[in-house]
Symmetry: C2
Subunit: 347 residues, 2 copies
């Protein structure tokens, strides 16, 4: 294999998109922008935070005195459950296709503690988050075909509230990513009579060089086709297609997996590692979803340090994603760091 | 039409991707990150700039005493013209598809002047840039199927050198965007026996509400399916499929168009407006490229001010692009600002 020596492309079988890999370019000097390093909040409770227990939010409502997770309707949601009909005069024209979007946006506070991000939480506290995701998914997937559970962590990822939280956007349409994946997963099943992500798990376990965490129920890899420098894929090893199917054991194991993964992330540059992460569940309106497998994506932007990120700009926007570090090298780094959080290391 | 009242989705016919539009969300308060406003260089010549005339670059080579544009090979190119073969042991497996990438990366200095971005250059100087693009395209498309000409402007867009310049990445493969567009453009021609972008131009000229600039050879619109707040599409009104076909008159008209468009951008927030922009030409290895039409995209990140940008993060990465401002509103704003650069307004 010449992966470390030479520019090449790799194909993402979930989306059909390619990524350009330029391992030799890793050494170029960086003279561009540096970001502000994320300043971690150190207060357990912040009286001015709209996500802390008992505090008032912008809409005048006060949060309860919650002890674990707390979910509320996003006061500025991008979608709502009573959209007006979009009457598009040009609707019959395929150059001007529009449709109304019905849905709900919610915020999930991970815990009452203002200063505890996932890697700093106990496994039990993370388990409460996973339980909450499951409840929310189960409820919302009754009404909506597509339930997106995700987190933007860090200001650099557009997160506007430091209190650790995620979001849920549920809606009556298949989002572009889900629709695309549905096609690719289905085509693979039809061709091979086996599950794409199931086969992928088996093969990564043999190849080993991209694996970060492997336990009875979950596999974490830097996928062969990763676009972001330290992107990872969290895949269920069991045949589950959505969150509602997870057993207590699978959830507990997931909590441990997420704790270890996010600790490893923080340890790469000894900082609160920013990312966007989210879950891809089978859409709930499929007659048969056996081509699906529950999985999550972590898309972290950092490249070289706590302040130098990968810019997905010109070429990436107009052509395709590009990376310098190979997936195998990134996996090496993530495996190489400690699984004890840098802030807790006894020195 | 209820576009201004209610959440809806619109479909991009060039890629098949959808964008979620949430006009009601425009009023939410912003508490998140603010970016450093771009500090404009005010020196005409900077002795420490590797892109100024006569200066030495990192590789020890000195730039000539250029008077208009100047092109050189990118010293840290993501692709090169002698890649080793990628020997992928798992190559026959559709989950691990890789291929070597052969190509060239070049840098195009727009002018000798360190302090002159496109909106500050004369039409004649911009014409020299367009001529240069044409020469480069004509040369490189002999060797490579796909020639990407683009510019990242501003530190926020990952631009590491303030001296106004663009880039060219040419390669022997169809990038993901080009491959996707090729499929959609071809399908439209097969179905309608007419050119997708030709039809789109005609319809936008009737609708008028998304048009920014309309002249004999070029149309600039905020496309119906725009993802970025102030995204625009620059389309050739004539039947040209790539840059090499442009006549002097079309090029001169393009220079004027680009000057006006970039001046309008700078005037939106009275700042040097960051963006990634680039050209989509028909790939040069097609037997028949009549389904293509030369066009350019401007993807500017700013949303509310010189320092608050749109973050394409969690939902956008995991589901689909989302915007608050409608395309029609954005077009209104771009039409409403002056076409004289704010720094040159006599007050
Ligand atoms: O080539 P530059 O300007 O150093 O780098 C910039 O543009 C490239 C092409 O869009 C991107 O791959 C880089 O992430 C970005 O920082
Ligand atoms: O909802 P928030 O956290 O205010 O906003 C953030 O996440 C959203 C969902 O990914 C994005 O649309 C916004 O651009 C981003 O700033």
């Amino acid at each position: 294999m010449q992966f470390e020596q030479s520019p090449h492309r790799r194909r993402n079988p979930l989306t059909g998109q390619w990524v350009l890999v330029s391992p030799h370019r890793n050494n170029r000097p960086w003279l561009g922008a540096s970001e502000k390093a994320q300043v971690k909040d150190s207060k357990r409770y912040d009286e001015s935070c709209p996500l802390c227990p008992n505090n008032e939010r912008a809409n005048g409502v006060s949060n309860p005195d919650f002890k674990q997770t707390f979910v509320f309707k996003n006061d500025f949601g991008a979608i709502n459950d009573m959209p007006a009909d979009v009457i598009n005069e040009q609707d019959t024209d395929e150059l001007f296709v529009a449709q109304s979007a019905r849905g709900e946006c919610r915020v999930v506070c991970y815990s009452p503690n203002h200063d505890e991000t996932l890697p700093e939480m106990s496994v039990a506290a993370i388990e409460a988050v996973v339980d909450c995701w499951q409840e929310q998914f189960t409820e919302l997937s009754q009404d909506y075909a597509c339930v997106h559970i995700f987190e933007n962590k860090g200001q650099i990822m557009g997160c506007s509230q430091p209190h650790p939280h995620g979001q849920i956007w549920a809606h009556d349409y298949h989002s572009t990513e889900i629709a695309t994946k549905n096609v690719h997963l289905k085509a693979y099943l039809d061709k091979h009579q086996s599950n794409l992500l199931g086969d992928y798990v088996a093969k990564e376990l043999i190849a080993k060089d991209r694996v970060i965490i492997d336990n009875p129920h979950w596999l974490v890899v830097v996928p062969f086709w990763a676009a972001w420098p330290f992107e990872t894929l969290v895949v269920a090893k069991d045949d589950v297609t959505n969150m509602s199917q997870l057993t207590s054991e699978q959830k507990q194991c997931l909590a441990k997996t997420l704790q270890e993964l996010t600790i490893r992330y923080d340890n790469v540059f000894n900082c609160s590692f920013p990312y966007s992460m989210g879950w891809h569940n089978a859409p709930s309106d499929l007659d048969d979803d056996s081509h699906w497998r529950l999985h999550g994506h972590f898309y972290p932007p950092l490249l070289r340090s706590a302040t130098v990120k990968k810019h997905m700009v010109g070429y990436e926007m107009l052509a395709e994603s590009q990376r310098d570090l190979t997936a195998e090298k990134a996996a090496d780094i993530l495996r190489g760091v400690s699984d004890i959080h840098y802030a807790k290391e006894t020195s």
